[in-house]
């Protein structure tokens, strides 16, 4: 069973993702900002991370950098942001996927499947 880490400051969003991904058969870990996410990553090795950009504390950008610096820990990242305009900046080089947040999670799910080679 694949484990997915969800990093988002919005509680309702986390809840929505968790339920949806659990339904899809994933184990789901949660973090509400970058620091929490790092703590989770210290204890776990998720198969993929779904990451929001704009968060209080450590934001998605900084977290992404730290994740990428941990070379031994190469976890694919899907950015899932309310901001469409950062797509150009990140999709090219920082993440495996950049998805603009939507109530329809089809895109996110199919991106996960692709990244995890399912």
């Amino acid at each position: 069973m694949k484990t997915i880490l969800i990093v988002d400051d919005e509680e309702n969003i986390r809840a929505l993702y968790k339920e949806e991904l659990a339904d899809e058969g994933y184990d789901v870990l949660l973090a509400s900002n970058g620091y929490e996410a790092l703590e989770v990553l210290d204890a776990h090795q998720p198969d993929a991370i779904i990451l929001d950009i704009k968060m209080p504390g450590m934001d998605g950008v900084n977290l992404l950098k730290l994740i990428k610096e941990r070379k031994e820990n190469d976890i694919p990242v899907i950015i899932c942001s309310a901001y469409e305009e950062y797509k150009q900046d990140f999709s090219l080089w920082a993440s495996e996927e950049y998805i603009v947040k939507s109530s329809d999670l089809t895109k996110m799910k199919s991106a996960l499947k692709r990244i995890l080679h399912e």
Partner: protein, 814 residues
């Protein structure tokens, strides 16, 4: 003594004869008869020295063949008689036949005699003639006899002299009359050719020469040119074509030094004769002098006497010809001046007409800034009967983008009948150019004719070998092609299409640039295109070139103005939208998260509800409505996409200065000295000022962080005109970057700092690349780092006027 009586008698008779009123000829006859009769000689003859020539002519004789009177001519020194004339002393010869000085004239009768006395007729030591007596018998003459003959010679000398003086006077009188006639004739006309014709004819007749040639000096090339010839010349063509340089030949010498020359023996002349001068046995050449300046020469050739025998020129002839020349020169000069004045007047009148036409044309051209109308006016001017009067004309313009010559308009009748109709129409109305232009308007006649269509189809690449039209552009000069099909420079395709046979071209030049070409011809009336036509065409073309350029500039300005207005409108629009977009974006992002939760859970709810469940309807509504809201959000956010740079004209210096101001405090806190070197004339760039500012701020803050313990920051801004770009360099003294990391500095998230995202240089790199520029780093380990940002400039749009402001600021900050 009988002899003495006879002597006395003879002398008395001779004196009587000499004082009689009979003419010289009659007197001489009586003298020779008296001598033969009274002194018992068998024959007697008198030779007189011919005027103007060292030669003795038999004038009267008894006992000689009368046919030889006036025929025998002895040079001084020739024969016994000539010897006597030369020695001026009488001689008695016992046997003529054994005398070596003897000269025979077979048939004259002298051969019948054996002995002779010959005595000179002297007057004041000058020999006027010789008197000869002969006897049939050989005998010796007494001193007395010789003396008597000498006395007789003395006796008639006065008579001869008087007669000669009389002849001289009457000859001078005749000459004066002739000169007077000439003078009257010369002043009776100012017609130049007639005048100089008179001069050559009259002088030939007056002096009895074979012919005369009048040369005039051409002030421009300093060559003497034949202006008039009179008389019999074997090859008048050759002579009239020979131009004589000053100082060459007799003619050239005379014209040069102003001294007349008389050449009776061409072989012994003091100057080398020209081939054309060597054709004649003798010549007399005098200068034509006006106000001490030689304006030409008058030459006579080969004088003959009344019997047609060629005789040498005499000093008197020279004086006479001088008189003619003096009188003639002034008149010729007057006539020349008159002709010049007339010609100038004629030219001025023509010019005045030209100017009047040009003025009208120029006025007409100034009535419009519309290029199409202007081209029509130009070609109408070129083809108008009262204007430049060409049958047909085509105007082509240079297309600089494609480097081709492009036909714009053709004006001209399509056929001969058409031509006749149009011209008679214009002719009957007798319109001025202005009237014509306004009457014809701009749409009819010429527009849309076959000729015009053909003209508009012309497209010729501007390269050598493409015909005269292109040559006109490349060599910036007009051509007058007489025989187009035989001229290697022409383009047969054009000739065939347009039917050109002979034509002329002229470039339209404006501000040293060829903007187009006009080509004209006279296909219908076959009138030859003259230099004068070309001159007027050129004048017109100069005007046209300027007018076309003006029209172009005007149209460019109009276009620029229009685009500027559009740009301004767009700018206002985009500013509004930007403000709106920013607000919308912040709201939209705030709304998006809750919407995702609402919509996401609604979808979950919806999927869990059975289709039969009545609540399923509610959940569907929520899902649909959220989807609708999300779609609206997406559209709203499309306005505010800041990821795309907003390109505008951007002042790099201003942006750089702003960037420095942002970090001013930080620099001061770290103890960093800022050195600014900004060139005076930095062009604008095309770019997003905010993004470029971010680039500078990134570079400057990197520098600041590298020099947290102080240092020197050098900021330079220069313009690389050859590359057409602006170069901004930011140099720090922060110790440089370790070589092993330098290759990574533009990678995202790479940083050597403890704070910051590391995205700075990566974004900087991307922004500069998006602006079509590049960024380079020069690392000097242990010293510092220099970043060089190059941005393409909008060339030709410098910052004139602000350079002063900049230099003031620079000195203030230093």
């Amino acid at each position: 003594m009988g002899n003495s009586i006879i002597e006395f008698e003879v002398l008395r008779d001779i004196l009587k004869i000499s004082n009689s009123t009979l003419d010289l000829h009659e007197r001489l006859n009586q003298v020779v008869e008296e001598i033969v009769e009274k002194m018992h000689f068998d024959a007697c003859a008198i030779y007189l020295m011919r005027r103007g020539r060292e030669c003795l002519t038999l004038k009267a004789a008894v006992g000689l063949n009368a046919d030889f009177i006036n025929e025998i001519c002895l040079n001084v020194g020739e024969g016994i008689t000539g010897w006597v004339a030369a020695k001026k002393t009488p001689v008695a010869i016992r046997d003529i036949r054994s005398d070596e000085r003897r000269r025979d004239f077979p048939g004259c009768g002298e051969e019948n005699y054996r002995s002779m006395i010959s005595a000179p007729i002297l007057f004041l030591g000058k020999c006027l003639g010789v008197i000869d007596v002969w006897t049939v018998e050989e005998r010796a003459f007494t001193e007395n006899e010789i003396h008597l003959l000498f006395s007789i010679a003395d006796g008639i000398s006065g008579s001869v002299r008087n007669a000669q003086l009389y002849l001289d006077v009457s000859k001078q009188y005749e000459e004066l009359v002739a000169l007077y006639d000439l003078g009257r004739a010369l002043t009776s006309t100012l017609e130049f050719q007639e005048l100089i014709g008179l001069m050559t004819r009259k002088s030939t007749e007056l002096i009895g020469a074979g012919g005369a040639i009048l040369h005039l000096l051409d002030d421009e090339d300093q060559l003497l040119k034949v202006k008039s010839m009179y008389g019999l010349y074997q090859d008048p063509e050759l002579i009239s074509r020979t131009f004589v340089p000053l100082g060459e030949g007799v003619t050239g010498r005379v014209a040069q030094d102003g001294n007349p020359r008389m050449i009776n023996a061409p072989d012994q002349a003091d100057v080398e004769l020209l081939p054309s001068e060597r054709l004649f046995a003798s010549m007399l050449c005098v200068p034509l002098v006006v106000k001490e300046k030689v304006i030409g020469t008058l030459s006579l050739h080969e004088k003959t006497d009344s019997a047609g025998t060629m005789v040498p020129f005499h000093q008197d002839d020279l004086h006479l010809l001088m008189a003619v020349a003096n009188q003639g020169a002034m008149v010729v000069e007057n006539s020349r001046n008159f002709e010049r004045a007339e010609r100038l007047l004629r030219e001025n009148t023509e010019r005045a007409n030209d100017f009047a036409i040009l003025y009208e044309i120029s006025n007409a051209m100034n009535t419009t800034m519309n290029l199409d109308q202007l081209l029509q006016i130009i070609l109408k001017a070129v083809t108008f009967g009262g204007g430049l009067n060409f049958n047909r004309a085509v105007l082509l313009l240079v297309n600089e983008k494609t480097n081709t010559l492009q036909g714009m308009l053709g004006v001209g009748p399509d056929s001969g009948e058409d031509a006749y109709r149009i011209w008679s129409e214009i002719g009957s109305k007798n319109m001025s150019f202005k009237e014509w232009i306004s009457s014809v308007g701009f749409s009819r006649e010429g527009r849309g004719s076959r000729f015009d269509q053909l003209a508009k189809g012309i497209r010729i690449p501007i390269e050598y070998g493409n015909g005269v039209l292109v040559l006109t552009v490349l060599e910036r000069k007009g051509f007058n092609i007489k025989n187009a099909w035989e001229d290697p420079r022409t383009n047969p395709a054009i000739l065939e299409a347009m039917g050109f046979e002979s034509f002329a071209t002229v470039p339209l030049i404006s501000q040293d640039r060829v903007v187009g070409v006009i080509i004209v011809d006279n296909l219908y009336n076959k009138r030859e295109i003259t230099d004068e036509d070309l001159r007027r065409l050129e004048l017109c073309a100069n005007q046209a070139g300027l007018a076309i350029e003006n029209a172009r500039v005007y149209s460019d300005l109009e276009y620029a103005n229009r685009s500027l207005t559009e740009l301004q409108d767009r700018l206002i629009q985009s500013e509004k939208m930007a403000a709106l977009g920013e607000m919308a974006a912040s709201i939209a992002h705030e709304i998006r998260n809750p919407l995702v939760s609402i919509g996401g859970f609604a979808r979950r709810l919806d999927s869990k509800l059975d289709a039969a469940n009545p609540e399923k309807r509610y959940s569907r509504i929520i899902v649909k409505e959220v989807a609708r809201l999300e779609k609206v959000l997406q559209e709203v956010l499309a306005f505010s996409r800041s990821a795309e740079p907003v390109f505008q004209e951007c002042d790099v210096v201003e942006v750089l200065t702003d960037g420095l101001e942002v970090l001013e405090e930080g620099f001061a806190d770290c103890g960093i000295q800022v050195v600014k070197r900004i060139d005076g004339n930095i062009p604008k760039v095309h770019g997003d000022a905010n993004q470029i500012k971010q680039v500078f701020i990134n570079l400057l803050s990197n520098a600041q962080q590298a020099m947290s313990q102080g240092g020197v920051l050098t900021v330079e801004c220069t313009c690389d005109e050859t590359e057409g770009c602006v170069v901004i360099s930011v140099q720090d003294t922060g110790g440089g970057i370790a070589e092993e990391v330098i290759t990574n500095i533009f990678n995202p998230f790479f940083t050597t700092k403890h704070t910051g995202t590391g995205l700075g240089l990566s974004i900087t790199h991307r922004v500069v690349e998006m602006h079509g520029g590049n960024i380079q780093v020069k690392n000097d380990p242990g010293v510092g780092v220099t970043f060089l940002v190059t941005l393409p400039a909008k060339m030709g749009e410098g910052r004139e006027g602000s350079s002063l402001k900049l230099s003031v600021r620079e000195s203030g900050s230093a």
